[in-house]
């Protein structure tokens, strides 16, 4: 048992150390959310008026955080495809540790860095005018970030385990990421969508994750917070199980 914790701990520590050391990588990862904050948040925000009384900028910041969590998580998870062949992962796979602990360690490491990155985005957003409304729910923001990261790192791990060539890989990941991103209420309220499309967004875990973040950070959202939490918890469990299954079945190399 201690053995399993060791593997989880090492994988987590490794990701965290790498994140802290690679300053250029942090800046690179912040670029996209930053462009969205400036372009959509400030640019489009000056034209858009939401009915609900909340400014568009305040509305979209949780959406942008959700988006950057989605993209980095899928990317982090799917890096196993590369790692299986060339990286450090082979070295882990040949140690006497269970595949489950390897998956969990990877998810925890990836989630930690994704959360740190999101906190940086929130800080930057606050500097350019994002209002955090402190409440009993504020601390839940970290929980939602963790659940969003865990869900989509697991999705990435699954894709990286199932797919075997680099060519098809790009296509398949964007086939997943784009709809997940647009069919959530990340950049516009889902209430603005036609009913049919809106019903699809209810199947997307990211919808609940972003809604939860919105409640935690701005105090207003679409669903009650417990629904968001429940939905994210369920999707995390399902996706982690799928990832563990897919990952345990793959061969290395």
């Amino acid at each position: 048992m201690t053995m399993e914790f060791n593997a989880i701990y090492v994988l987590w520590l490794r990701d965290t150390i790498r994140f802290v050391r690679a300053k250029s990588r942090i800046i690179g990862m912040l670029m996209m959310p930053l462009f969205f904050l400036l372009g959509l948040g400030l640019g489009l925000g000056s034209l858009v008026q939401l009915g609900s009384g909340i400014s568009y900028f305040d509305f979209i910041v949780p959406g942008i955080i959700g988006m950057s969590l989605l993209f980095t998580s899928i990317f982090t998870g799917s890096a196993v495809l590369w790692d299986r062949q060339f990286g450090f992962l082979k070295e882990i796979m040949v140690t006497p540790n269970s595949r489950t602990s390897i998956v969990i360690g990877r998810i925890m490491g990836g989630a930690t860095t994704a959360i740190l990155q999101s906190i940086l985005v929130i800080v930057i957003a606050m500097l350019i005018g994002f209002h955090v409304v402190l409440s009993a729910y504020t601390a839940l923001a970290i929980v939602f970030m963790a659940l969003i990261a865990a869900t989509f790192i697991s999705l990435g791990l699954t894709l990286g385990s199932v797919i075997n060539d680099f060519q098809g890989f790009q296509l398949v990941t964007s086939f997943f990421t784009m709809p997940l991103f647009f069919l959530s209420d990340s950049i516009f309220p889902a209430s603005a969508l036609p009913v049919f499309v809106r019903n699809i967004t209810f199947l997307n875990p990211l919808t609940y994750g972003i809604d939860g973040l919105r409640i935690a950070l701005t105090g207003s959202g679409t669903f009650p917070v417990w629904i968001d939490l429940l939905a994210m918890a369920i999707s995390t469990v399902i996706f982690v199980l799928i990832a563990t299954y897919a990952f345990s079945r793959t061969d290395v190399g």
Binding site: V10, V94, P96
Partner: protein
């Protein structure tokens, strides 16, 4: 001597490709055993099966007393491996790479530090321990990987192309480390290579692998002796017929062939026979232009068995990726 690896008709198929096609061999404890073969022969696939990274399609193997199929975890505890492709973490220091490895093998904290510094000393990287691996040279990385593979005191160390992509001088160095650690730690070593000299220099026994099969297996010396000795080529300016006639009566020449004005003689210990050949030629007034002695290498033996040389270029996406990585790591 005690058998530490026993492989029985091991096979691996990828779709319709038989990457490894029913190979069997055993390795004794403390031995350095080599798998020598061209690109795509199935060496890495064999190593991956023996190290439990790939499941065999059929056949079985006992590694360090445990079955690779039924108790992979017990096998994993007792082996170390250096992969063909780099598997260090570039963003960590040399020390951290070994430390993480030691944790993954559950080495208690008090023994961890000691093992790590011993291994760093063995591969002479003590003074680089706190440098990020991305700043290591190719040879230093390879040495670190070898040291890492030994941190948990494995019974068997697998080395998949330990010196691939390194310059000849560094390669020599790595050979020295490998034979040093084999002697000092008594670790059994099984290595793959497509460098003839590597197999010849390091291995007690060599298996030639081609198209997923073992085509020959013996000590390098026995393999070379099989070809019937050295080749002495005599370049004759004048008097070919006369010399050939007399040489055909000489007992220690096992065969003679003529190629233009070259006479090729198959002779054991050729260097000792050259003076006699010259004497015989002088006595009959034959004019010798030059004499060339060729000692058979394992390459000649390989050609003998497979009809082709070991170095053969083949480019699939993996090789392309490897080149990119190698270029980046330089």
């Amino acid at each position: 001597m005690k058998e530490i690896i026993k492989v029985s008709s091991l096979s691996k198929e990828f779709g319709t490709l038989k990457a490894v096609n029913g190979i069997s061999f055993s390795v004794s404890e403390g031995e350095i055993f080599g798998l020598l073969g061209p690109n795509g022969a199935g060496k890495t696939t064999t190593i991956k099966m023996l190290t439990t990274l790939l499941k065999p399609t059929s056949g079985s193997a006992i590694v360090a007393g445990h079955d690779i199929k039924s108790d992979p975890n017990d096998v994993r505890k007792r082996i170390g491996i250096v992969f063909q492709d780099p598997s260090l973490d570039d963003d960590l220091t040399g020390f951290e790479n070994l430390q993480f490895h030691a944790i993954l093998y559950n080495i208690p904290k008090n023994r961890r530090e000691k093992r790590i510094s011993e291994m760093l000393r063995l591969v002479e990287l003590e003074d680089k321990a706190s440098v990020l691996v991305r700043n290591y040279s190719g040879g230093m990385k390879r040495r670190l990987e070898i040291g890492r593979g030994l941190v948990h005191e494995p019974k068997i160390l697998f080395l998949d192309e330990p010196t691939i992509g390194l310059d000849p001088q560094t390669r020599r160095h790595i050979w020295d480390y490998i034979s040093k650690l084999n002697k000092s730690t008594k670790t059994t070593i099984i290595l793959t290579t497509h460098y003839i000299e590597e197999a010849d220099y390091l291995c007690a026994r060599v298996a030639f692998v081609d198209h997923g099969r073992i085509v020959a297996l013996d000590t390098p010396k026995n393999l070379k002796d099989m070809l019937g000795g050295d080749i002495v080529s005599v370049n004759i300016e004048e008097g070919m017929e006369r010399l050939e006639k007399v040489l055909r009566t000489v007992k220690w020449i096992s065969s003679i062939s003529r190629r233009g004005n070259l006479l090729e003689l198959n002779v054991k210990e050729g260097e000792k026979r050259i003076p006699e050949i010259v004497k015989l030629a002088d006595a009959r007034g034959v004019n010798i232009g030059s004499i060339n002695l060729h000692k058979p290498s394992l390459e000649d033996v390989f050609i003998h068995y497979t009809g082709k040389g070991i170095r053969e270029e083949e480019g699939n996406w993996k090789d392309v990726m490897r080149m990119h990585r190698a270029a980046r790591n330089r």
